[in-house]
């Protein structure tokens, strides 16, 4: 069956009609949109199906198509026109662009020069900026700012501010920095700046000086208010030694008058309500009056030194100028001080008071000398019045000593001291005692003692000798021993009297020798042995035996020896009255001992002579029953 069908189909296809028909039959109108559109469009104008219309259909359609094409054409005409205008615009734009490109090119060509100029300028500006920085730095370093200048000139009231010193230091710095400039090729600038700074400095120093001077001038109160700014001002002034010196002079003058005023006030006005009392109220008491003045001077000097140290604490003022200034400040009180002390000294008669004053002045000379220099006026003044007091003292001592020699008293019956001796020794004691209580260095003391002793002791001894000159030997010796003894015992209490004591001892010894032999002779004489003793002494020159000589025969000698024996029983019975008047126990004993020695010696010689057969004494045992040893023992 399929073959048949296939055969059918192929035969049908070969037939054009059938093909056509098939095609038409196969046409699915529903799906052919074009066809549907076409039919729809056809139905728009093919309103009536008639012959004419069928005949004219083609032309109608063609007409219609033509109309449409015409419409289309006209529509496109508009489009074309528009496109043409767009084209024209684009063309214009293109022209414009190329014109611009050209112009840009030209501009670029032109700016190239500009650019390079700018770069150059830029570089130039950088250099300039750098230069500006350098210039600023230079100005910073070498010029003062306006407020600095203002500080330097100062406010109208003339006060000095601390900043002043900073600026001044800067001016100085700049001035010295300019020297660096002078070594470079900036010499003109250097010179100019230097000159400007020099001017600034001058006026600044001028101002500084005036301020300092004024400030110093008013430091006249008891205790000056030394401000830190003033110290700085002086420190800064040091660069101008002359100004510095004048400022200090001003200070010195102010302080000097303050010190004088203070001194006069203390002398005449005293403290509040009169306590402490004015120093002059004690002018009747020489020691207190002078002591108060000296203590005041001491304290004022110490205080002034402190103030001065405060003032100059920032300065390197030399020691010499410091001392000089302190000397100047304290110089003012010299006159009022000296006048008063001199008056005290010349109206004082008492040696002891004068000596105390002398010591006081010496002490203060030493004490104040530790504060001020040795060539300061105040110290010289104290030395002067001390010298005066020294002379017045020795003057008074010498006067006293001279009076001793003018009127020499006779020695009293007891051979003791005269009243002028005791008085003088009392004076000496008083004088030496006040040295004991004094405050003076030992060296001075030694020197003084020597001088005092020779001033008093020598005339004293002279006086004693003169007063003793009318006495017999024994009285004189005893009297001198007594006088010297008193002098010795006075001196023995003090230092530095050893040489004197030695000398006095030698004199005593001489007198003791005299007295010793007098005592021994007295004993021999009283027992009647003088003749025999003298004979024994001279036996060498005698031809005959002693017993043959007159007064030396056995019987006489025997009776004398008997008397001697009773002396041995009570030796004190034959003591010279002058010897018992001796004041010193030691001297009395020495005398006794040595006269006994002498007597023993004499006895021994006589004993030897008597027992010697050459002298032909009989029964010597009866004449001299005691051996010399026994006699010594008895007398010891």
């Amino acid at each position: 069956m399929a073959d048949k069908e296939q055969g059918d189909v192929s035969s049908q296809q070969n037939n054009p009609l059938s093909r056509k028909l098939n095609k038409i039959l196969e046409t699915r109108l529903d799906n052919d949109k074009d066809m549907l559109e076409a039919l729809k469009a056809l139905s728009g104008f093919f309103s009536a199906n008639n012959l004419r219309s069928r005949r004219n259909l083609r032309s109608d359609i063609e007409k219609k198509s033509l109309a449409i094409n015409e419409e289309f054409l006209s529509a496109f005409q508009a489009v074309k026109e528009q496109l043409d205008s767009v084209y024209g615009d684009v063309q214009a734009m293109n022209d414009c662009c190329s014109d611009m490109t050209n112009r840009l090119k030209a501009a670029k060509a032109q700016t190239h020069h500009l650019m390079s100029q700018t770069t150059k300028l830029h570089a130039e500006s950088q250099t300039l900026q750098m230069k500006e920085q350098v210039a600023n730095a230079f100005l910073e370093k070498f010029q003062l700012k306006s407020d600095e200048i203002k500080t330097l000139r100062g406010p109208r009231d003339g006060k000095l501010h601390e900043d002043f010193f900073k600026v001044l230091a800067r001016v100085k710095q700049i001035h010295s920095d300019c020297k660096v400039l002078l070594r470079t090729n900036q010499q003109t600038a250097g010179l100019e700046i230097m000159e400007a700074m020099a001017l600034q400095m001058e006026s600044a120093y001028e101002r500084l000086y005036r301020w300092t001077q004024n400030e110093c001038r008013i430091l006249t109160s008891d205790s000056p208010d030394i401000s830190p700014v003033l110290c700085q001002a002086l420190e800064a002034s040091q660069d101008r030694p002359v100004l510095f010196k004048y400022s200090l002079d001003e200070y010195g003058t102010a302080r000097r008058s303050a010190v004088v005023r203070g001194f006069i006030d203390a002398l005449t006005r005293g403290g509040p309500g009169g306590t402490p009392r004015p120093i002059e109220l004690h002018s009747h008491d020489p020691l207190r009056y002078s002591g108060d003045m000296l203590a005041w001077v001491h304290q004022a000097t110490a205080s002034e030194k402190e103030y001065l140290q405060t003032l100059l604490r920032l300065c390197e003022a030399s020691n010499a100028s410091f001392e000089e200034l302190l000397g100047h400040i304290t110089e003012g009180i010299c006159r009022p001080f000296k006048v008063r002390v001199e008056q005290v000294l010349v109206s004082e008669q008492e040696a002891v008071t004068l000596y105390k004053l002398d010591n006081l002045l010496k002490f203060y000379h030493h004490t104040i000398g530790q504060i001020v220099s040795s060539d300061s006026a105040i110290l010289t003044t104290i030395a002067e019045v001390q010298d005066l007091s020294h002379r017045m003292f020795f003057n008074s001592l010498s006067c006293h000593a001279n009076r001793l020699l003018d009127k020499v008293d006779l020695p009293p019956a007891d051979l003791g001291p005269t009243s002028s001796l005791t008085q003088t020794l009392q004076l000496l004691r008083d004088v030496l005692a006040c040295h004991d209580a004094s405050v003076v260095p030992v060296d001075d003391k030694k020197q003084d003692y020597k001088q005092i002793l020779s001033c008093v002791i020598d005339p004293l001894l002279q006086m004693c000798s003169m007063s003793a000159s009318r006495l017999n030997t024994v009285d004189m010796a005893a009297y001198m021993i007594n006088c010297i003894y008193l002098i010795q015992s006075t001196l023995a209490l003090y230092q530095f009297t050893d040489t004197r004591l030695e000398m006095l001892q030698a004199q005593t010894d001489a007198h003791v020798d005299t007295l010793t032999s007098e005592q021994a002779a007295y004993v021999l004489n009283r027992v009647g042995l003088t003749l025999l003793y003298n004979g024994v002494q001279q036996q060498a020159e005698l031809q005959a035996p002693l017993s043959h000589l007159q007064g030396m025969d056995s019987i006489t000698v025997k009776s004398a020896m008997n008397k001697f024996d009773s002396y041995l029983a009570s030796p004190d019975s034959l003591t010279l009255p002058q010897c018992s008047l001796l004041l010193g126990t030691l001297v009395r004993e020495t005398l006794k001992r040595r006269s006994v020695e002498l007597i023993c010696q004499a006895y021994q010689q006589m004993y030897a002579a008597i027992t010697n057969p050459k002298h032909e004494y009989k029964d010597t045992q009866a004449i001299v029953p005691r051996t010399p040893e026994q006699v010594s023992k008895l007398l010891a």
């Binding site: 009231d157 203390a266 004490t367 405050v439």
Partner: protein
Amino acid sequence: MAAGPYNYSYIFKYIIIGDMGVGKSCLLHQFTEKKFMADCPHTIGVEFGTRIIEVTGQKIKLQIWDTAGQERFRAVTRSYYRGAAGALMVYDITRRSTYNHLSSWLTDARNLTNPNTVIFLIGNKCDLDAQRDVTYEEAKQFAEENGLMFLECSAKTGENVEDAFLDTAKKIYQNIQDGSLDLNAAESGVQHKPATPRSPISNDQPPSKEGCAC
């Protein structure tokens, strides 16, 4: 610059008195140097020390005069009482004799200083309590009877030394505040350094050229 040891508004003058060897110089040394001087020689005449202290915010410079206690210097030291604002009267608690002499020292102090002088009694060497010869109570009573301030101190250990000096200064300062101490009077023992600026000196006057080479 404004600081430092040189700025003070008052100077008070002190005097230290008492028998020899009671430790006056040691007290001064302890106060000024904060050290004990074990073998201190006898003072010859007078010596002098300073220190700046602060009392209720005021800087005060103390100018202290240390006197010799030895009798032979009495005539010299008496002249230094004048114008003292404070007197420190010292005895040694281990030596009764130094205490017994106080009345004579006190008489001197009263006669020779001004009525406002502050007198401070110090019993020194209180470190030597074992050798004590004067009781605290006894001295305290003496001080009260005579209107004195009183402390026991030791120059060796430093105990109470500051207080003695400072309390004296406080009392003096108080007297100034009360107005009982007249600063203007000479020899009050106190000197005032005005802290307030003075009337400024005008600089407008023509510069004085005399004597100036510049």
